[in-house]
């Protein structure tokens, strides 16, 4: 991985034009976010990784924030896609399908903790940008729609949105505590997949409908 990056940098130094510096900078920033957390990266670092002067990004981005915004927007799109894929495989409108969304949310959070924190954490670093906000809202609304589909299918009178909020709350809590290492201090070895799979039917008010799918081993 590191070697691949160095090779990229060397290659970049040979050519005057980078090829696709915009994407390279986004990729470098993402890597740095993974390695150093949501605040532990700098534009200068990303430039070094991309093999480029610190002035180069300004040909592609207004400023540092704009790169972060792009990463956040893509994160929401990625999460939306992952959720959609999960529910399609698990079975739309079923407990298994909705559980799969929760597990997909968790997986995303654990795979990209810093991006997840930027997406859901305090927004001081992100300007009010419509395009980012909208991708976020679209993502969350798709979850609500899935729960609504479940409610319709089972003729529940309960408000679908209310139940969706409950599920989201639980899954978000599980994801946060897991990726921040808080479970580890109190319940080391906890299987968070099982935790989500166990609670989802209860929050759906469907404890008797059947077993939730087993979570992946941790």
């Amino acid at each position: 991985m590191v070697q691949a990056q160095e090779r990229t940098a060397v290659r970049a130094k040979k050519r005057f034009h980078h090829g696709d510096l915009r994407e390279a900078l986004i990729a470098a920033t993402r890597d740095l976010l993974i390695e150093h957390g949501p605040d532990g990266f700098t534009l200068a670092d990303a430039c070094r990784r991309a093999g480029v002067t610190t002035a180069a990004p300004y040909k592609h981005f207004r400023d540092k924030q704009e790169i972060i915004e792009e990463i956040v927007a893509r994160g929401f799109e990625e999460l939306t896609a992952a959720n959609a894929k999960a529910v399609a495989e698990g079975g739309p409108g079923t407990v298994a399908g909705i559980t799969a969304i929760g597990l997909s949310y968790l997986d995303f959070a654990v795979a990209q903790p810093a991006v997840f924190r930027l997406m859901f954490g305090h927004k001081s670093k992100i300007r009010k940008v419509n395009h980012v906000d909208e991708s976020g809202n679209r993502c969350l609304k798709s979850v609500i729609e899935q729960v609504a589909a479940y409610s319709r299918k089972h003729g529940h009178t309960a408000d679908a949105e209310k139940i969706a909020i409950r599920l989201w709350t639980f899954v978000h809590g599980a994801s946060s505590l897991e990726l921040d290492g808080d479970y580890e201090r109190v319940a080391p070895g906890l299987n968070v997949h099982d935790l989500i799979a166990g609670v989802t039917p209860k929050l759906l008010g469907a404890a008797s409908e059947g077993r939730a799918p087993r979570g992946k081993k941790r």
Copy 2:
């Protein structure tokens, strides 16, 4: 508030010795954390607030991190006390009492978001310090004990720790989404107190035991 701080600064300038600079710096840092988030404060800012040179803190703290560690440890102690008070008032070993702990957790998070984030967020800024870790663990274990007390009282066979983890997860999720403004984007006007009060009995497996207390108005 700001005027009070300025007065403090002026008073501090008159006297050569500050009086209690250690506490003043902790208070200033806390204020800055509230205003600028967990990363938006600097030692230099805290010094300015306390009316003191940037070199002065080093007579009381090893470095910048040590101030943060102190604030985190105190945060855990404060939360532990708030939880204990809540459960005592709500009724130990009752649904109301356990709900009260959840609401107390939420209130703490909303009142001191930055401290909350430092306590539970990614730990990169906090050294492995026994004294901080222990106060955190003590805090979380006290919640588990309360749930265990409930289980014992009701002769439930269910594992108290498992249920406690579920409750913690939900309440933590609710607190995080609320203080990060994520509910607002999707469900503006949501009453988070009611959300917690509604779900707690379900997660305790005590839906039929009685009504949960009403949350405070938002």
